[in-house]
């Protein structure tokens, strides 16, 4: 019997640590029950999750486990009388996984990411062996071409093309870089892959290195992901010990060394030339291309950069065949894509689906989105908001671009009627304005001016001319910026003006925020008919603006209230009114 606790960052944040300790105490002295860990399976809304796997491989899953319920699970594992069956994962949790097609996430949440043997047991490193023993570098690249794999970092550039360019570039020393600087706020696919199945990324990298002839590899990972870095470090050292990294891999002449470099926190470093500058110890500022990194990258040597998810696909493609991969998805966008489904949605977490699924199916069938859903934000600060009318759009690179959004790295934030679209535009502009490296004037100053206009509008001080001004500045910022950060920074503003113009007009002309979110345009009061005097709002109010005796109607002092909306969120009786 094995007892497996989901210990990704999100599982730990939900309380998996004490659950693990409680299981450990409950299983002590029972050698028949082995306690181990796994990465994130993706059903984050059911964390902490515990699996019981019996000796014939049958799995029983428990959801939202706490220290107390963990004790019952431990009793079940050692065959004592227990009440564990009350805490089983509900059917919807199993459906959530059954509706997905898991290629990248094939092992996430099922194997222990800290044990290389568990990866090898699920045919880990066999794809590498297959390549080294039977494929030439051209063969590997041609497999990638047949598979149709495209860059999962957002741009969707064909992977085989980049590999071929790096392979054909003259030079004896070449670099291979894995971009794990997942900076898009609202996306955590790469973190989950690195935490849940780090060897898949390493194996993908070694295969890529073989294809292009690189001898040195670097994983550029953001420092905000300490657990991912820790597990990756362990995985790299185990891969060296196992002979999958280092010199003469699988007894061949091929050698490849891999190390981790921690990013220091700059969104722009997701851009490949900025990432290279950062690796060289400089400020992460992009430079003009060409020359592309394939010709002149790190230290002016040929360099190939791919994203974490791209690499994690590679061993599966080699093992299962490029055609098996190409069968998933659409002609123009092959394979699957992992999305981080979050925001105003019930089933939030990581989902992997074939390209071509409609946004509607993802949000409602898998995510169980509610009636109030009005838009989904895709592509983060470079993407846009897609309104519900366009939810029949298939998820592929081209179709999404036509809506004004982009595929991006896979962040998918669902928004409902309580989300103000003007404020969302302001939120993203604040982000890009902060993260602009400052090289191009239009990006540096243009985003600042756009932000000021949006701040004016959410404060109720906007004018109708502001919309035209925003659109004109947006065009200039797009045209006057060197890299994608600037070129795409206006997208959130342009898409919200295009699809939610009425919300902008309500802020400007009626001085109202339809979502009742913008602090300057909203006030709160308590409905005496609905208030039960339970005091939950009063206890939670950060500024003590709510008064009232228990069991009596409470009152909000509007002059002290900061409009933080905590009372609205915590009231169980719908008695707090936003006006």
């Amino acid at each position: 019997m094995r007892v497996v606790v989901g210990m990704g960052s999100c599982g730990i944040a939900a309380g998996a640590g004490p659950v693990y300790d409680s299981l450990k105490a409950g299983l002590e002295g029972h050698a028949s029950a082995q306690l181990s860990i796994a990465g994130c399976i993706g059903s984050c809304y059911f964390e902490p999750i515990v699996d019981l796997i019996d000796d014939s491989g049958n799995k029983t899953t428990f959801a939202k486990v706490n220290e107390r319920t963990a004790k019952e699970i431990a009793k079940m594992a050692i065959g004592e009388e227990n009440r564990a069956s009350f805490f089983l994962m509900p059917q919807e949790g199993h459906d959530f996984l059954a509706k997905q097609t898991r290629i990248v996430l094939r092992n996430a949440g099922s194997i222990n990411p800290e044990e290389i043997d568990e990866y090898i047991a699920v045919s880990g490193y066999s794809a590498l062996k297959k390549c080294l023993s039977g494929y030439s570098s051209e063969d590997v690249i041609s497999q990638m071409e047949i598979s149709g794999l495209a860059g999962r970092g957002g741009a969707g550039f064909p992977t085989w093309f980049k590999w071929k360019a790096a392979r054909d570039a003259p030079g004896r020393q070449k670099y291979l870089i894995c971009n794990a600087d997942e900076g898009d706020p609202g996306a955590f696919m790469d973190r989950a892959i690195l935490e849940g199945d780090p060897h898949a990324v390493i194996e993908g990298m070694v295969i890529a290195a073989y294809a292009i002839g690189a001898s040195i590899g670097i994983v550029y990972c953001r420092a905000e992901y300490p657990l991912a870095i820790k597990r990756l470090k362990k995985a790299i050292s185990d891969a060296y010990a196992g002979g999958f990294l280092g010199s003469s891999i699988y007894g061949t002449e091929f050698s490849f060394d891999l190390e981790i470099k921690e990013g220091a926190g700059a969104f722009v470093c997701g851009e490949e030339t900025a990432l290279i500058a950062s690796l060289e110890g400089e400020r992460g500022m992009p430079r003009q291309r060409p020359p592309y990194p394939a010709a002149s990258g790190l230290w002016q040597l040929p360099t190939n950069i791919n994203n974490v998810e791209t690499f994690a696909n590679v061993p599966w493609i080699i093992n299962n065949g490029a055609r098996a991969f190409a069968k998933h998805g659409l002609q123009t966008s092959r394979g699957t894509k992992v999305f981080a489904l979050t925001g105003k949605i019930k089933n939030s977490g990581l989902v992997e689906v074939p390209m071509g699924m409609t946004i509607h199916d993802l949000v409602f069938n898998i995510g169980d989105g509610g009636a109030g859903v009005k838009a989904v934000q895709m592509g983060g600060p470079s993407g846009g908001c897609i309104p519900r009318e366009l939810f029949d759009t298939p998820i592929d690179y081209k179709s999404l671009q036509q809506t004004g959004a982009i595929m991006g790295s896979g962040g998918m934030v669902v928004m409902d009627e309580s989300t103000c679209m003007v404020d969302i535009a302001r939120f993203f502009l604040e982000f890009t304005c902060n993260e602009s490296c400052g090289k191009c004037v239009h990006c540096r100053i243009g985003t600042k001016r756009m932000l000021e206009i949006l701040e004016r509008i959410v404060a109720g001080e906007g004018q109708m001319e502001d919309l035209g001004l925003l659109e004109s500045l947006a065009t200039q910022v797009k045209e006057g910026s060197l890299c994608e950060l600037g070129k795409s920074a206006p997208n959130p503003v342009l898409t919200t003006i295009r699809y939610f113009r009425d919300e902008y007009e309500a802020h400007i002309e009626d001085k109202k925020c339809p979502a009742k979110h913008c602090r300057a345009l909203v006030s709160y009061s308590i409905d005496p008919g609905a208030c039960t005097g339970c005091s939950v709002c009063k206890t939670g109010c950060p500024v003590n603006a709510i008064s009232g005796e228990p069991q009596e109607t409470h009152k909000i002092d509007s002059s002290a209230c900061t409009r933080c909306s905590n009372c609205l969120r915590v009231c169980n009786f719908g008695a707090v009114l936003a006006n």
């Binding site: 809304y45 420092a223 979050t342 969302i424 950060p542 933080c564 905590n566 969120r569």
Partner: protein, 168 residues
Amino acid sequence: MVINIDENLDSRFGHMLGGQGPAKGSLIGILQKTQEIYGYLPKSAIWAIAEKTGIKTAKIIGVATFYSQFKLEEPGKHQILHCKGTACHVNGASIIEDAANAFFESSNRPLSENGVTADGMFSLESVACLGCCSLSPVMMVDGVAYGSLNAEKTKKILGGVASGSLRE
């Protein structure tokens, strides 16, 4: 400005810097290690790095101020990272900031302009995304992430950290 550097820490720094080879592109790594030792980048450390590596001080400061990870001032004893990612924003991240500020005021340790409380106990900093989006809104205190927060939970956690009663 007078800089008081703990002698014990100083030797760790000297050891780290002394062990640095002339590897190209190592500046960011050196700064990261320095910050690991001191919790921030003291001026004296920056001068020492300049002297050892031959990189100009202006350039070091240029790099240090470019990346959000580096701090040029001493942070509080307990570091609160308040997530401002998209999912947290949509699910009411501003409540955490309000609640933290309310907690600082009610416990008589007002937050100063550099984001550190007057008693040096806490520093409050917002970050772009902690990657725990499905548990939004989220904050991280001393490396531990806390999810699904509201005002009351936030105050309770900070109270627990201040009194040392919170389980690590």
